[in-house]
């Protein structure tokens, strides 16, 4: 357990993030300020916030454990399983969401297809994000319990109060700015761990020599097809072509930052700068996992103990506190973003769309703030029952995601790329794809292949049903479909003015 200067650093971090987060309250005057940071975010804030949101505590603990177990193949989740998708997201998907003036991905789908598609997507993502929130709260309580010794409930309460208050007051502005602060701490902490780790193992060559004697595959990015969890084909097709684009092109918490960009260029550049930062992420947890493998004299009983081992045996006082603050940063940045995105979806796509349609802007701002508080309480209360009903935190996330990520990607992809895709094609493709992944999930199939086949099923169903139904009028598709926008300068200008006019 940590104490002394380390505990002081952690307490300073917690208090500091709280104060900074609450400071951004003064930037919130309208619902657009609250949900989209007033569309004022610059590209580098967006990039850092996206990565801060993306790195969670499960990346640190589970990722370091996996790197200890399988080696650098774990980095596939950050490289081939992220970067090509981020480039595609930046240059293809993000501009369309931004130009549509949407607050959420389901809102875009509602404009492109129909209200039922919007509602199904909103309910899927809205529910998923609340589950994520509960899981993040539990992870936070568990981590504080392990390293500081406080009861789990106290850790959950602390996280809920701190993150809840600054998210309620400062909205996306507070979320994005605190993400930036937190990512910087994570990177500095990771860099310092790399320095001390390489010193201990004798540099890169020392690390390779120590590990490859007993683990010759630990420095291979691609593992054989017979590998149970990291088969190379699944990595390229399941992860690289489906799961990763679905995450980076359709995940509300990721996309929401780009929707808050001050210009289309900033939105695109934000996602690309995030892709660059993503290249560095394996520094944070793959390297520590490898250091532990090289330095531990006895094999660890539980691979997820790799990072705790590194903190206890490798890091000096001071740096241990900074690295623990980085863990908390990873959790806080995931909790605040998930909270803000869940509230945005439930407010825009459900409440404002069905329940109270024509209220004042102040009404929706207050509703968003109230809902944020409610979700904090719900997430904290669900933390234990939800996570203990699954065998592991990571498995819970994976199971939920696999069911609808492939079909979502297929629906968005055809919606943007193919003007012939109709409202019925979108609806049947989405529902059919989710049904397909649910059925496949009950078999023994690897989740990477489930993602691939549910994506293919949704594409085929969408295309077939679209061809059998009446095409959508061109007027409806203006600005929402790739080909139409690329060919028509008039549409581009009218969309820009629409967004600038705040429609």
């Amino acid at each position: 357990m940590i104490g002394g200067i380390d505990l002081f650093i952690v307490v300073f971090f917690i208090v500091g993030v709280f104060v900074v987060g609450v400071y951004f309250k003064k930037f919130i005057h309208t619902s657009e300020d609250f949900f989209l940071a007033g569309r004022r975010l610059g590209w580098w804030v967006i990039g850092m916030s996206i990565i801060g949101t993306n790195i969670g505590s499960y990346d640190y603990v589970g990722g370091a454990g996996a790197a200890y177990d399988v080696g650098i193949a774990q980095a596939n989740y950050e490289w081939i399983g992220a970067i090509p998708a981020m480039v595609i997201s930046a240059l293809l998907f993000v501009p369309y969401y931004w130009r549509a003036g949407a607050y959420t991905v389901p809102e875009y789908l509602g404009k492109r297809y129909s209200q039922p598609v919007r509602v199904i997507e909103a309910l899927l993502w809205g529910t998923f994000l609340i589950c994520c929130l509960a899981i993040f709260f539990w992870a936070s309580g568990l981590m504080i319990n392990t390293y500081i010794g406080w009861p789990i409930w106290l850790g959950i309460l602390l996280t809920a109060v701190i993150v809840g208050i600054y998210t309620v007051t400062g909205g996306l502005t507070a979320v994005a700015m605190t993400d930036v602060i937190q990512l910087a701490i994570m990177l500095v902490g990771g860099f310092a761990v790399a320095i001390i780790g390489f010193h201990e193992v004798g540099g890169w060559s020392g690390l390779v020599e120590r590990i490859t004697v007993e683990h010759p595959d630990h420095f291979r990015l691609f593992l054989p097809l017979s590998h149970e969890t990291y088969p190379w084909l699944g990595m390229i097709f399941g992860l690289g072509l489906v799961l990763s684009p679905a995450w980076w092109c359709c995940h509300q918490a990721i996309i929401q930052r780009t929707l808050g960009a001050r210009s289309e260029w900033d939105a695109k550049a934000g996602m690309l700068s995030a892709a660059f930062l993503k290249t560095l992420v394996p520094l944070l947890y793959v390297l520590p996992g490898l250091f532990v493998l090289a330095l531990a004299t006895e094999p660890l009983a539980d691979k997820d103990q790799a990072l705790p081992w590194a903190i206890k045996n490798l890091l000096p006082a001071g740096l241990a506190g900074l690295v623990f603050a980085a863990f908390l940063a990873a959790i806080f940045s995931s909790v605040d973003s998930t909270l803000n995105s869940a509230v945005t979806i439930w407010t825009r796509d459900i409440y404002q769309n069905f329940i109270v349609r024509k209220a004042s802007d102040r009404h929706y701002l207050n509703f968003g703030r109230g809902l944020t508080l409610i979700f904090v309480v719900v997430g904290a209360l669900l933390a234990e029952p939800l996570t203990t009903s699954f065998s592991g935190i990571y498995l819970a996330m994976q199971t939920l995601l696999t069911i609808f990520q492939g079909p979502t990607l297929a629906t968005v992809l055809l919606g943007i790329m193919w003007a012939r895709a109709t409202r019925w094609g979108g609806l049947f493709g989405l529902v059919g794809g989710v049904a397909c992944s649910t059925i496949l999930h009950m078999t023994d199939m690897n989740f990477l292949y489930v993602a691939w086949w549910s994506f293919v099923a949704a594409m085929i169903i969408n295309a077939l049903v679209s061809l059998l139904t009446k095409p959508e009028p061109t007027e409806k598709l203006r600005g929402l479909v790739y080909g139409l926008v690329m060919k028509d300068e008039h549409i581009q200008n009218s969309l820009s003015s629409r967004v600038e006019g705040g429609e």
């Binding site: 200067i5 930037f27 500095v188």
Partner: protein, 75 residues
């Protein structure tokens, strides 16, 4: 590059606030050099502290100059 569109907001800009946070944390890390018994431990704390201080100073100065130029434009 400023972090937000120019808009009338009094007080510190986001960059200045972030900069101050990093500076304070950097100072604490530099002070923490006393804690580890080994030279490599002390050096690592020092390097982490200096990096945080540098990022913080850069952000603070950039934010302050951005705010000054916005206030000049408003006047």
């Amino acid at each position: 590059m400023e972090d937000t569109k120019p808009k009338v907001e009094k007080g510190l800009s986001p960059l200045e606030v972030m900069g101050l946070f990093w500076i304070a944390l950097g100072i604490i890390m530099v002070i923490a050099v006393y804690a580890p018994p080994t030279m490599i431990g002390k050096m690592t704390n020092l390097i982490a502290g200096i990096i945080l201080l540098a990022i913080g100073l850069l952000a603070y100065l950039k934010g302050r100059s951005g705010r000054a130029s916005r206030e000049t434009k408003e006047d």
